[in-house]
Symmetry: C2
Subunit: 221 residues, 2 copies
């Protein structure tokens, strides 16, 4: 039975301070939180479903699906066998650290190793708010175009890893993989870049290897 | 020589009242303002370039390209022969009516019939702010998926017309045209829906016919 949580938009003086508190609590409990961001329709949910399948039996994963409306994604993720809850943001275009804390409490973290927050589909606002996640990941999909790091710089600056999704349709779009790498690295020289196709499964192994490495480092660090 | 304007984020008590003032002033001067919204990468600029070519010699068009950063789009539009300015929003994820007014002043409206505002690429926040435009248009592109009206309801509610772009790649995506129509009309029974491919030019005639009709009605109404 899917649960939907209407999260409250509390205003804290310092979102950064709240985010540090969320991270400290995650560290204490040995839980890794990934904040997954992208434009609408870049394939966050499909990527998640493939990730869940690849890591089944290896990590206990809980997913928070943040959306302005609808429960479509949470149902999809739950059907893929993960513990999932739907967070309704009440029209808000991003999550704050306190909203994420409410989500983690509602999800319940006793029985999970990895919590994934699927943030609201938006390449602008979510980049401005530290959710308390250990790592930020973003998806840019081929049909969106290789110029996006030039136009939405902050998102590329705050992310540790960028998945380039829908590489199966590369032949049908004027998308230059070299250029997108160059533009993204110009914004953030440390960003890891992994081309994938959530549809065909290409690149999912490399993405899961990144995730495994980061989760291990956080638990042992 | 392209001009870039850093617009100020003035806060007005009522954005709706400011928007009505912008519209009254446009009416007085006989200018139609179109507010064009979409996710990043859905093809706003390419659609604009095709629109400019189709309406050349028929209407005098001025374009305001709103972006958080970069001048890529304004250069593209200027190269297509339109009067264009770049608006930098200073990180803001949407335009307000007052920001639009600043843009119109910088653009100069004495010699144009149709002003087009290319809003920040974002399916959430721009829908919440009336810019003072006569009509709101949005683009949803095929790769984004047909479920978007369920997930970003407000955008579909505030738009008078929705262009479904990139229909040339329909064979490569699980995109259901009937479903997207059904979902969009559920949110907004009056929305006009026009499938196009800005790349191949398909549907641009129908879109320009809509635009012509609306501009005429505004000038004569």
């Amino acid at each position: 039975m899917l649960r939907t949580i209407e999260i409250k938009q509390s205003v804290f003086e310092s979102n950064d301070r709240e985010a540090d508190k969320v991270r400290a609590e995650l560290k204490r409990r040995g839980i890794f939180l990934l904040n997954l961001m992208s434009s609408p329709g870049s394939g966050k949910t499909t990527t998640l479903v493939k990730t869940l399948a690849a890591l089944r039996g290896e990590m206990r994963i809980g997913v928070m699906e943040a959306d302005i409306d609808s429960d479509v994604d949470a149902h999809t993720v739950e059907a893929a066998g993960a513990k999932a809850i739907q967070l309704h943001t009440g029209g808000m275009c991003h999550l704050t650290a306190d909203m994420t804390r409410q989500g983690l409490e509602a999800l319940g973290t006793e029985d999970i190793d990895l919590a994934i927050l699927e943030n609201v589909g938006n390449l602008v606002c979510p980049a401005e708010f530290d959710t308390g996640a250990v790592r930020n990941a973003m998806i840019l999909s081929v049909p969106e175009g290789h110029d996006k790091p030039l136009k939405y710089p902050l998102m590329f600056e705050v992310c540790h890893v960028m998945l380039i999704n829908k590489i199966d349709v590369l032949p049908y779009f004027d998308f230059d993989l070299d250029k997108v790498r160059e533009y993204a690295l110009r914004r953030n020289p440390n960003i890891e870049i992994i081309p994938i196709s959530a549809k065909t499964g290409e690149g999912i192994d490399e993405w899961c290897a990144w995730l495994r490495r980061e989760v291990k480092a956080w638990k042992e660090g």
